[in-house]
């Protein structure tokens, strides 16, 4: 009988460990959380908010603003530009150099937009966790971890 080797699990982690620990962690919100929540509500009333966030008019929850800049390729000239939210050209590249400049500009745009949107999404998540926008019993593992780090919550289990 020929031996047949099974490829096995390889480098993939074993499954079946259940819910990751931060998600099942029980926390209790502290006084610092309530004070911070009040402060954020006051700031919201004053209109002093993070520029990358939009506050929902109906719920007061925060969401990341859409990225304002766009990457526009000019098919006629073969060049490309980054257009700002105010519709003004911020940066341009010509087709010279076998399109290397255009590619460089595209990579810059992708990198900038990704990092900006990541930061905005994280800010929105943090804002919702600390302002009460996310109900305490619906906090994600990451949000619980943040609240614990900020001293706005304590572990109870």
């Amino acid at each position: 009988m020929a031996f047949k080797q099974s490829p096995g699990r390889g480098n993939n982690p074993k499954t079946g460990y259940g819910i990751p620990s931060p998600l099942k962690q029980e926390i209790e919100l502290t006084k610092k959380y309530e004070t911070g929540k009040k402060k954020l509500a006051e700031n919201r009333m004053k209109g002093s908010m993070d520029k990358g966030l939009d506050i929902d008019v109906r719920t007061g929850e925060a969401k990341a603003k859409a990225y304002e800049k766009t990457f526009v390729e000019n098919k006629r000239t073969g060049g490309a530009s980054i257009i700002g939210g105010d519709k003004k050209t911020m940066e341009s590249a010509t087709r010279y150099g076998a399109g290397k400049d255009v590619e460089k500009l595209r990579n810059k745009f992708v990198s900038d937009s990704t990092s900006t949107m990541n930061a905005r999404n994280k800010n929105a998540e943090l804002y919702n966790a600390t302002s009460g926008g996310t109900s305490p019993n619906k906090l994600s593992g990451g949000q619980k971890k943040t609240l614990l780090t900020l001293g706005k919550a304590i572990k109870v289990k």
Partner: protein
């Protein structure tokens, strides 16, 4: 004179065909396309409205405190309990499947709602 008559006739025609804000008209599911909330209106046997509203961001349900239909406008006052955020929506009909809501809250603004499912057909 002829033009005036045509305009008058048009006005009468448009008024006669204008949508009225009724429980029957509202019945169905309305979406803000991820902008704000999703709302379901259901008409009971006694012609009353049952309103359920959910946040498009988190899916958390809002508590509808009261509603009123007045002069072809619908007003909904609700509370978002997690952060005690209270606001009033004033709906104006644009067409059969579109309404614009003026939001009166700490963050006033406008939200466009589109009908996505008509319960009347069920």
């Amino acid at each position: 004179m002829k033009n005036v008559l045509v305009i008058l006739l048009c006005l009468v025609f448009f008024n006669a065909n204008a949508q009225k804000m009724t429980s029957g008209f509202l019945e169905g599911v309305w979406t803000s396309r991820g902008e704000s909330t999703e709302i379901t209106f259901k008409k009971t046997d006694k012609n009353k409205l049952v309103i359920s509203e959910f946040s498009s961001i988190s899916g958390t349900e809002l508590t509808v405190l009261r509603y009123k239909i007045k002069k072809d406008n619908l007003y909904i006052e609700s509370l978002f309990e997690p952060n005690n955020f209270q606001s009033i929506l004033k709906f104006i009909i644009i067409d059969e499947n579109t309404m614009v809501a003026d939001v009166i809250s700490d963050y006033p603004g406008q939200v466009i709602y589109k009908r996505i499912l008509n319960d009347k057909t069920n």
